[in-house]
């Protein structure tokens, strides 16, 4: 029996129409033989701002990709559950913001990203850190401030980094211009990459962002601004914080796309479109992914004083990004419930193990308090008045960006 990938390749040279027919036939054939290799779906219509045409509402996914997406979204959900519990056990220092409910945004974008693309976001980044290549332990141990954390415990929940992932910003809105600079570097070095620059509906009102929009358009920088509209900035709803909640239009002269952020395939499609747009020399684009956060703003916010429990329940039941994707791939026989169960079990095992290690791991040593303040310390010691005086400054971290 030939593989589905081979079959797909075999029809690659055909005309779009024949191709589509061929795909459908292939799908039917495979389905009639007990499994599907690819399935197609209709997304909610996108809303467009200053664009003649947008991403296709007809999206398809291969079995292989579907399983990856399923695994990624579920892993993020489980990481967040573990993070929440660690916080409640008082093992997490600093603040802790969970991404549960918003998984489709990150996973959709990630599956469209190429190796030269990068991303920068705010403080709700446990999921992104994992998606960009940090093992689950690197995320959870960063939360617990231990040395296996991706920043060796020096950053904590809000500050995680890895290759092509520029964090991890605690100051709301700061990442807007930062991401614009990252994208400009790629343009300047002719690397062909884009930088997904993510911010929330609350952050969308910071002045810095509008400064960034302007320079990005002025120089046609390949930056993709992504407003993850989860309805609230802390306790303030989007309607109360923003004179226009059409965030995809708020770049004025920058075209924008509204996309259902609970539909991972729609986000992926829109992100692909955006990459193509931005790298074709047209410059920046704004994506608004409409989504929802299940937890409170951070662990210290129960998340119930400014919205009803009912509201959260309704989203969980009708729009959950994972449940809806799971239904889709089961209904189209891209995957069987048993296959998915097996994946669930693997994820649980992985996260549980990481969780355990993240609690048992040790912290970096005291010397590192004076580590990495500078790259090139002109003074060998860090000034302080303590019993540990003198405290020698040292370089510890390998600078990822300079590799």
């Amino acid at each position: 029996m030939f593989s589905s990938i081979q079959l797909t390749r075999n029809i690659a040279h055909l005309s779009p129409r024949t191709k589509k027919n061929g795909r459908l036939q292939l799908q039917k054939f495979l389905q009639s033989h007990g499994f599907a290799s690819e399935a197609s779906f209709e997304t909610k219509p996108y809303k467009l701002h200053k664009l003649e045409s947008g991403p296709s509402t007809h999206v398809s996914v291969t079995k292989e990709d579907a399983l990856v997406i399923y695994r990624q979204m579920n892993t993020i959900r489980r990481i967040e559950t573990a993070a929440g519990n660690l916080y409640k056990e008082k093992i997490v220092r600093g603040f802790c913001h969970l991404y549960s409910g918003q998984e489709a945004c990150a996973v959709g974008m990630r599956s469209a990203m190429r190796k030269q693309d990068s991303i920068i976001s705010a403080y709700r980044v446990h999921g992104w850190t994992y998606l960009m290549g940090v093992p689950v332990l690197g995320v959870l141990a960063e939360l617990t401030g231990r040395k296996s954390g991706c920043a060796r415990g020096k950053g904590g929940s809000m500050h995680m980094y890895c290759k092509n992932f520029y964090g991890g910003n605690g100051i709301v809105g700061a990442q807007g211009p930062l991401g614009t600079g990252v994208a400009f570097a790629s343009q300047y070095k002719e690397e062909g990459g884009v930088c997904f620059t993510l911010y929330g509906d609350g952050a969308a009102n910071q002045g810095q962002l509008f400064e960034a929009y302007n320079i990005a358009k002025l120089m046609n920088i390949p930056v993709i601004y992504v407003c993850e509209n989860n309805g609230y900035g802390m306790g303030t709803s989007a309607e109360r914080s923003s004179a226009s909640t059409n965030y995809y239009t708020r770049g004025d002269y920058i075209p924008g796309i509204w996309v259902d952020g609970m539909d991972v395939l729609a986000v992926r499609e829109a992100a692909k479109f955006a990459i193509e747009y931005a790298t074709s020399g047209k410059g920046p684009l704004i994506l608004e992914t409409v989504t929802y956060r299940y937890s409170g703003h951070s662990m210290s916010d129960p998340g119930t004083s400014y919205r009803t429990r009912d509201e959260v329940q309704v989203v969980r039941q009708t729009r959950d990004p994972i449940t809806s994707f799971k239904e889709k791939i089961i209904n189209t026989e891209l995957a069987t419930p048993d296959e998915l169960k097996a994946i669930d079990a693997e994820i649980k095992k992985e996260v549980d193990a990481a969780n355990k290690t993240a609690k048992e791991d040790t912290e970096i040593t005291m010397e590192e308090i004076a580590g990495d303040v500078y790259s090139n310390t002109l003074e060998p010691t860090i000034r302080n008045i303590t019993p540990w005086n003198p405290l020698t400054h040292k370089r510890v971290g390998p600078a990822l960006n300079l590799k």
Partner: protein
């Protein structure tokens, strides 16, 4: 953290107590985020202010704003999420009582919040704005330093924003990490035209905040966030104000002067107790209350009396406000000094996430400094 214990041991062999406590702190920090590093010392309100009730610091601040709104029809309160009470509940209930046009949420835009307040104030309203955390005040740095502080001067007093008050929670809280812990007072203290106040508890907070609100210069009011709930004492229920620019001698003593503000005052009061018990050293503890202007007289008079001084603050050493105090003391009290002016502060590093217990000027570090200064 065995290596760090070893390090401490190496450097601090003789002080076995320090070592023990240092390790305990470390251990606490692992298990518990909320281990607080000080014991709260209550204030006694002046009798003349009338009836009191048991009040914590967020309630005292709430009461001050409530009174300001009651007594000044031009006063408005705004900031991120303040309509629901704000992150620390300081404005709880104020919107219900005073209306949506007087107590309202601002969008997430610190520069906008401050600048909006300056505009309001310039046009004659009393603006009471909140920056959610002092760590987030920097997007507004330009507006504070270049507009608020200079409005009066550059216009030859044709115009000013004296009725502006900016409140912001500051300082260490036990688990805040890099962006929920900073003490930025020194950045602003470099700016003539501003007044900067940091209360040490509920009683002081209420009277000082009302003074700031009514003062005719733009005021920055930094509230040590760890005190919001942990500090509770009898606070006058009525309207009262406490003087700006006036330090408090919170404990009289004769051998050494300890200077601090905010949370650190309580650390120093405990240090004074320990120094008394352990080395029979009598400490005079001064809360300078106002950073700008600061009460040079009270501090220098005390130093002239004791001949020794230690200044402690959470912000980093270099250019921390202690530097200004030290410079003034050496100038004013040179011939009275028995030992160099001592400082105990945060390190010259960003505020650390996991090393907070080491970074803050804990009672043990301060006690050690007292010992060194006295035995100089």
């Amino acid at each position: 953290m065995a290596a760090s214990s070893k390090l401490m041991h190496k450097v601090f062999k003789d002080a076995s107590q320090f070592l023990k406590v240092g390790c305990r702190l470390q251990a606490q920090n692992v298990i518990c985020r909320h281990a607080s590093h000080f014991t709260y010392f209550k204030d006694e309100p002046l009798k003349e202010f009338g009836d009191t009730s048991k009040t914590n610091m967020f309630q005292a601040i709430n009461s001050a704003m409530d009174i300001a709104l009651d007594t000044d029809s031009s006063a408005v309160v705004f900031g991120e999420d303040v309509a629901f009470g704000g992150v620390f509940r300081c404005s709880m209930g104020l919107q219900e009582k005073h209306g949506k046009d007087r107590v309202f949420n601002s969008p997430l835009c610190e520069q906008g919040i401050v600048a909006f307040g300056i505009g309001l104030s310039v046009a004659g309203s009393t603006a009471i704005s909140e920056i959610q955390f002092a760590d987030y005040i920097f997007p507004a740095f330009d507006q504070i330093v270049n507009e608020a502080a200079k409005f009066r001067y550059r216009s030859g007093n044709l115009s000013n924003c004296g009725s502006l008050t900016i409140r912001a929670p500051c300082s260490a809280v036990g688990h805040g990490g890099l962006y929920h812990s900073q003490s930025p007072e020194a950045y602003f203290a470099h700016t003539p035209g501003l007044k900067i106040v940091i209360p040490r508890g509920p009683y002081k907070a209420k009277g000082l905040l009302l003074s700031c609100i009514r003062d005719k210069d733009p005021c920055l009011f930094f509230e040590p966030k760890i005190l919001y709930r942990t500090a509770e004492e009898e606070v006058p229920v009525n309207d009262y104000t406490l003087p700006l620019g006036k330090a408090d001698i919170v404990k009289a003593g004769s051998d050494i002067t300890l200077v601090g503000w905010g949370t650190q005052v309580h650390v120093l009061l405990e240090v004074a107790k320990l120094a008394e018990e352990q080395f029979n050293v009598s400490c005079e503890v001064i809360d300078i209350v106002s950073i700008l202007p600061w009460d040079k007289n009270t501090v220098c008079e005390s130093v002239k009396k004791t001949g020794r001084v230690m200044i402690a603050h959470e912000a980093p050493l270099t250019n921390g406000f202690g530097a200004e105090i030290a410079a003034t003391i050496q100038e004013e009290c040179f011939l009275y000094l028995e030992s160099p002016v001592k400082r105990v502060t945060g390190f010259d590093t960003p505020f650390p996430l996991i090393f907070e217990p080491f970074y803050i000027p804990s009672k043990w570090r301060c006690l050690q400094a007292v010992k060194e200064t006295v035995h100089y």
